[in-house]
């Protein structure tokens, strides 16, 4: 049983894209499309979530993601409360449930959760009252479903269809919740070839069982691609046992104009941000004509509005 769906198959929580039916992914993308113009109106709001209380519950700091959720919620006229709860090893577990219970007592309708532990959003979703919806805004290495959805939205906007695409995801797949969500979405939406490209130290065991082709040679992996998704390489992983240096990484796995030229001429370049220029991507590519990195940010708001609107309208929120 999928904990994200109601008995009649509608979205109750958004925890992961793993196992979500194609129809629901498409419904979210279509709904996002209808929210696209709200940001351009004189009044940048629709009243759909008027009177609802949404709590941004960030156990791991992230200004960017929190802000996009906040803007999305406010454009739906919801009341948004931001909570940045630093997790320390002393106050870990119990604090989560205590926090959740306290906020539920304040009549919360929706929790947007970010946490450093994989499965944290599932854990909270299991414990909340039936009228509360949970959106996973990133849990450990596990999932970042709204990022995955906004990437699909971006691909659809620029490429129209999914069924004829070759998509490459490049970099630190091992630690990336974004990559996992992208892979599930791409395979569910019918992309015939999804590739992951990276050194063996940054690709997780058995990743091919998620339906992807594995490449260790970036030039071979980029050949014929329609979409290239670059992943962020965390600072602390640039030097050590996973990689010898950021310079060597850039040389073999950074996206330069020369490597980009191996993909299809109309290939688009994506990045979930924030970018490490000169580590995973060359500035010339990041700011170049094939980059759709800034549109991704804009679409992120419409996609998050769509998710919140669909969840709030499941009848129990």
């Amino acid at each position: 049983m999928n904990p994200q769906l109601t008995e009649d198959g509608r979205l109750r929580h958004l925890l992961t894209l793993d196992g979500l039916p194609r129809a629901i992914l498409m419904q979210i993308l279509d709904t996002a499309e209808s929210f696209m113009d709200v940001g351009e109106r004189e009044v940048k709001k629709v009243p759909i979530l008027r009177g609802k209380s949404i709590f941004n519950l960030f156990f791991e700091p992230s200004t960017r993601t929190r802000t996009t959720f906040e803007i999305a919620a406010k454009r739906l006229s919801a009341d948004v409360v931001n909570l940045n709860i630093a997790t320390s090893s002393q106050t870990k577990g119990e604090a989560i449930l205590d926090t959740v219970d306290n906020l539920a007592a304040m009549h919360a309708d929706m929790f947007i959760v970010r946490h450093s532990q994989s499965g944290a959003a599932h854990f909270i979703a299991r414990h909340v009252a039936p009228h509360i919806s949970v959106i996973n805004a990133g849990d450990g290495r596990h999932a970042h479903p709204t990022q995955g959805l906004l990437d699909m939205f971006t691909i659809r906007r620029f490429k129209g269809e999914f069924h004829n695409l070759t998509v490459a995801i490049v970099g630190d797949v091992l630690h990336s919740r974004v990559a996992r969500s992208q892979i599930h979405a791409l395979t569910t939406l019918g992309v015939p070839e999804v590739r992951v490209i990276g050194p063996k130290t940054l690709l997780p065991t058995g990743v091919e069982q998620m339906g992807v082709r594995v490449f260790h040679d970036m030039e071979a992996g980029l050949a014929g691609c329609d979409v290239i998704i670059m992943l962020r390489l965390q600072n602390e992983r640039m030097k050590g046992a996973l990689l010898p240096s950021a310079q060597e990484y850039f040389k073999f796995f950074g996206l330069t104009p020369e490597k980009l030229a191996l993909a299809k001429p109309d290939a688009i370049v994506m990045h979930p941000g924030p970018m490490n220029r000169g580590v995973e991507i060359d500035s010339e590519v990041a700011d170049g004509p094939q980059s759709v990195i800034l549109p991704q940010v804009t679409y992120g708001i419409a996609v998050r509005m769509a998710v919140m609107a669909l969840l709030a309208g499941t009848g129990n929120a």
């Binding site: 509608r10 419904q27 279509d30 709904t31 499309e33 209808s34 929210f35 696209m36 113009d37 109106r41 004189e42 009044v43 709001k45 629709v46 009243p47 759909i48 739906l76 609107a309 669909l310 709030a312 309208g313 499941t314 009848g315 929120a317």
Partner: protein, 164 residues
Amino acid sequence: MPASLPDVDPLIVRLAGAIAPTITPDTVIVGIHTGGVWVAERLHAMLKCSLPLGTLDISFYRDDFSRIGLHPQVKPSNLPFDLEGRDILLVDDVLHSGRTVRAAMNELFDYGRPASIRLAVLVDRGGRELPIRPDFTGLELDVPAHQNVNLSRLDDGHLTLSLA
């Protein structure tokens, strides 16, 4: 009440006739999805408006949203003109409780401040729950609360009314 409902085309012609004298260069026609857009398309053509037709999907403004959720096929609203100072002719197919019109007016105001809004409906079936009345009406019916008046469009574009 009639056993079968009248043809739609003469109703739209009558409606257009009533509206025509009030049309100004600043008038914009806005149809409410889905049936209201069909009627508005006809009126827009007959009245030879210079400004493009606007469409509204009021899903995000419904007052029953938290009860019934989001309509599965939300279509984007499309108002390809500045609303500021315009005379708006809002068009819907069937006027019942008045809630759809209320939602539509709220949405219009989020795009700007029009000079005026008038309401044209193909059928006024009664049963109002809000202080809203049409300025132009194609047909007045007295329909029991449990019944619905529906406008549908055939593949050839022909519009028909039915009672269910």
